[in-house]
Subunit: 208 residues, 2 copies
């Protein structure tokens, strides 16, 4: 029945599929490490078809990264929403961020690529788009936690404490004192929160 072309249903499906399948490629190999041929092969199309959906490789990359980041936006915001004391919210955020970094390696790697990007325009676009909201929220939280500190530095330190552990994930296992349970995001979150709360002062009265 119905010889009429049923073209209203699968509309725009391909474009999203391209973004979804190319994002992991860019995450693993970076912009220069992925060719249009690679993307086409992953999606199951020819190169030429990609140019129907995106004007060029740069645009495809930019959209793929933005797509991946948009996917994470809701989750990231949820971590910082809600109520409770500043410390409770900090603990919730640190635990959530750690869990996300442990779970979605591609997202972490895309962040790293963006940080290494030398294209000013591309970097500022993506930075503002992804990092800014996130940073603002943590920045405000930092203000509440300790009004006397530099909130900018403190917010960055909070991110760094969590993210750096996962950035070094692959090389950490060659370092002394490594034990598997340190890869557990909950263990890391506890470590970070404890450090933020009291520093090293918790220990016995070691020299100053």
């Amino acid at each position: 029945m119905s010889s009429q072309t049923v073209k209203t249903i699968p509309k725009r499906k391909t474009r999203e599929e391209i973004l979804e399948l190319s994002a992991p490629l860019f995450a693993r190999h970076g912009y220069d490490g992925v060719s249009m041929r690679d993307v086409a092969a992953a999606v199951g199309l020819t190169q030429a078809a990609l140019y129907y959906h995106f004007s060029n490789k740069d645009q495809l990359y930019l959209d793929a990264v933005a797509y991946e980041f948009r996917e994470k936006e809701a989750a990231l915001k949820a971590m910082l929403a809600g109520n409770g004391t500043p410390w409770e919210r900090l603990e919730r955020f640190v635990a959530g961020l750690a869990r996300m970094m442990a779970t979605d390696k591609d997202f972490l790697r895309l962040v790293q690529w963006v940080l290494l990007d030398t294209d000013e325009a591309r970097q500022s676009t993506l930075a503002k788009q992804v990092f800014r909201d996130m940073f603002v929220a943590v920045h405000d939280l930092a203000c509440e936690l300790d009004p006397h500190q530099d909130a900018h530095l403190l917010a960055m330190s909070i991110f760094g404490l969590v993210i750096f552990h996962f950035q070094t994930g692959a090389t950490r296992k060659f370092m002394p004192g490594h034990r598997p349970h340190q890869d557990d995001p909950e263990v890391l979150a506890r470590h970070v929160c404890e450090l933020l709360r009291r520093g090293l002062a918790a220990a016995d009265g070691e020299a100053r």
Copy 2:
């Protein structure tokens, strides 16, 4: 007079020059972002000449990174040597690392590229070669600072607190609360040491 060929004098000069000039290129654009043509142009040779000194691009890259890392090794070790209380040594190290990261952007970027490398062999080689000695020293220092904590996690946190600030250097200026003096390595070092010493407990008796 000696008609014998006097080949002992200018030996190996070109090879080192290639390494010295290509390392900044790889630092800025990564392995895939630099072609043999680029390197040749930077050194003032033709592509073909590069293959006299290195068997292929991979080897050139590996040697260039190792060369750059070896250059930094002495400076890094000096930071951790010497005597004093653990806290004094920590402060000296944090300040030195911050200054190095602020000064030598190329070195920082090479570290980031290595962390993103998906080639297991290449990564483990470089990681052990550069990071390990460094990490061991900080790890031992962490043990002295607080024997009750996980020294592995603590050492990584110390690195992360310093390095992450510089990794985000280019994007930090788009974030709220940014002021130029935060880029000063001394300011950062003080912030990090203060955080490590007392955490946020320094503030007034905020909740918990």
